[in-house]
């Protein structure tokens, strides 16, 4: 018998995601993949798997699942209330899911995108080198009640490990580099972008995240006649009404609206995970600085496995750990909580 996970009840926006399909811009296909790539890497580290292992992404709300045989799972990204057969389990940790047990995942208590990882990874047919859904391009599907997901061979055995996530579920500071069209904006508007708080608006999905600037729309000098140009995930597009829109992993590949700046790849999870109303503060950094930041982040992600530690089983401490899941807005004990 091969391992399978049944979806008894699917949340409204659940898809399978990996690191996406970089390299297809020439076809007009954006990279896609997990909205929070750090969460994908954290789950893979907990289970001792490659970072691009296919996992289940849940926007805002989880679902109910049942395994046909014993399997390992890990839970990362936006913390959600989770139970196995009614017993609360810790987020940002790996667990054993026994055959027939019910895994129930509720609403996010902070952030937007939660991830369910399985030992061996979900197995799906690759297309152009990846198996992730890219709904905007018509690749893959939304997962539904009653779907059964095939699972690859699990070569690991460790469970009950936990990882301290970087807090990125409440907005906060986001670093930018210039985009192709940053120079079209006047100094006053670039200064304002770095001085005023911007709030995440209601409209947000895997394609883009709308922002509301405190001081109203941004002015573009002669920016309405810009020739369509390459769009990159992280670009902050200023639409006709002056409103900023951060383009995310499933964005279009070209666009005619000018971009005021581009979010550093290592800060994009913070934008993806910012809940509606959260405050984001932007700051331009030099290219050299940006490269150093990306280098540090790549190193940190490669070493995530070293930061996993045994999940404490002391009943008194367990209660504290579980409280991370049960109290809205608190993810771990020691991070700064910004902008709620």
């Amino acid at each position: 018998m091969s391992a399978k996970l049944s979806i008894l009840r699917a949340g409204p926006s659940m898809t399978l995601q990996d690191m996406g399909r970089p390299g297809q811009l020439a076809l007009g296909l954006s990279r896609g993949g997990a909205a929070d790539r750090l969460a994908l890497a954290e789950g893979a580290a907990l289970l001792g798997q490659p970072a691009d292992t296919l996992a289940l992404e849940m926007a805002a709300l989880g679902g109910e699942f049942q395994a046909n045989e014993d399997m390992r799972i890990a839970l990362t990204g936006a913390p959600m209330r989770a139970t196995i057969d009614g017993e609360a389990v810790v987020w940002n940790a790996s667990h054993r899911l026994p055959a027939g047990a019910r895994l129930s995942i509720g609403a996010a208590t902070a952030g937007c995108y939660g991830y369910l990882h399985v030992g061996g990874g979900f197995a799906a047919d690759p297309f152009l080198g990846a198996a992730s859904a890219h709904l905007a391009a018509g690749i893959g599907t939304l997962l539904q009640d009653g779907d059964t997901l095939a699972i690859g061979t699990d070569v690991g055995s460790e469970t009950n490990r936990m990882i301290e996530p970087e807090d990125r579920f409440h907005g906060g500071a986001v670093r930018l580099t210039p985009s192709f069209q940053t120079h079209l904006f006047g100094k006053a508007e670039l200064d304002r972008l770095q001085a005023e708080p911007l709030h995440r608006a209601a409209r947000a999905n895997r394609m883009g995240v709308a922002l509301t600037p405190q001081g109203g729309g941004y002015h573009i000098e002669g920016g309405r006649n810009v020739v369509s140009e390459i769009v990159l995930p992280g670009d902050i597009q200023i639409t006709g009404d002056g409103m900023p829109f951060v383009l995310m992993v499933e964005c279009q590949t070209t666009g005619g609206y000018p971009r005021i700046g581009t979010v550093l790849p290592c800060d994009l999870p913070r934008v993806a995970q910012a809940p509606a109303g959260a405050e984001l503060r932007f700051r331009f950094v030099d290219l050299e600085e940006a490269v150093d930041m990306e280098r540090a982040e790549a190193k940190r992600r490669a070493e995530l496995g070293k930061h996993c530690r045994p999940l404490i089983r002391d009943p008194r401490l367990m209660r504290d750990l579980l409280s991370y899941n049960l109290i809205g807005g608190v993810v771990a004990g020691n991070e700064d909580i910004e902008g709620v």
Binding site: A26, L27, G138, P178, V227, G240, Q252, L287
Partner: protein, 246 residues
């Protein structure tokens, strides 16, 4: 932040891992040919650390790994390659095809024909003749998979994009503005005017070649009627046919 003065070719960075080499700030035939040819040349160089290239209407885009290929090193390589020749004189790529794509102009399938014709100063009948006679070229793919920007249309079609977006045009919609067509690969909002409707699937994930049109291909949008188009919907190519350009 410093930027070069706007002379072309112009090199700009975008994000931490992108370099854009532009051959103009608005669409022109030489700039488009230069972008296509320069992208092919960068591909042929096979520089270590370059992760992908693509071309847009007037630019070649290079995405690279800045942790292994520093910005200044790549920029120097690009500058050397730019000096190799006059890229504006480049010829179009080999293996180009001429497509005929059946299209219903106007009717409730393409409700903005009348306003687009008015903007171009024509009757609806004149507009259909003008648009269906035009042989346009795929200048770039982008926005959604396999979706082409096509041009250049006669000068009367230098009509602006709408200030208000149309909520949604269907997949296969042919839209017009600024002397160009866009043929939509997905259903999406747009500021361009919806003048024709086709049944073509530009992106066929399960096919051996998932993308139908390529930059350099030429296209004529042949007028047909709604009943005929409906019959073509069972064909993934929507009745489109092509011959090689010799």
């Amino acid at each position: 932040m410093t930027y070069p003065t706007p002379e072309f070719p112009m090199i700009r960075t975008g994000g931490v891992d992108g370099l854009l080499i532009s051959f103009g700030d608005k669409l022109s035939e030489p700039a488009n040919r230069a972008a296509l040819a320069f992208r092919a040349a960068v591909e042929a160089e096979g520089w270590d650390g370059v992760e992908e290239t693509s071309s847009t209407l007037v630019s070649c885009f290079v995405r690279f790994d800045p942790l292994h290929l520093p910005h200044d090193v790549l920029q120097a390589k690009v500058e050397t390659l730019l000096k190799r020749r006059n890229w504006f004189d480049a010829v179009l790529p080999e293996g180009r095809r001429f497509w005929r794509i059946p299209t219903v102009y106007g009717t409730d399938l393409a409700p903005q024909l009348a306003q687009a014709a008015a903007a171009a100063g024509m009757s609806e009948a004149e507009a259909v003749t003008s648009l269906s006679d035009a042989r346009v070229r795929v200048q770039a793919l982008g926005f959604s998979p396999g979706q082409p920007y096509l041009g250049e249309l006669p000068e009367v079609w230098d009509i602006p994009r709408q200030s208000q977006l149309t909520d949604r045009v269907p997949q296969g919609a042919l839209v017009v503005a600024i002397r160009q067509f866009v043929l939509f690969g997905v259903s999406a909002p747009t500021g361009w005017q919806h003048v024709g409707q086709t049944a073509i699937n530009l992106f066929q994930p399960k096919a051996d070649e998932p993308i139908l049109l390529r930059p350099g291909d030429e296209v004529q949008f042949i007028a047909t009627d709604a009943a005929s188009l409906n019959n073509m919907r069972s064909d993934p190519d929507g009745g489109a046919t092509y011959e090689m350009i010799k």
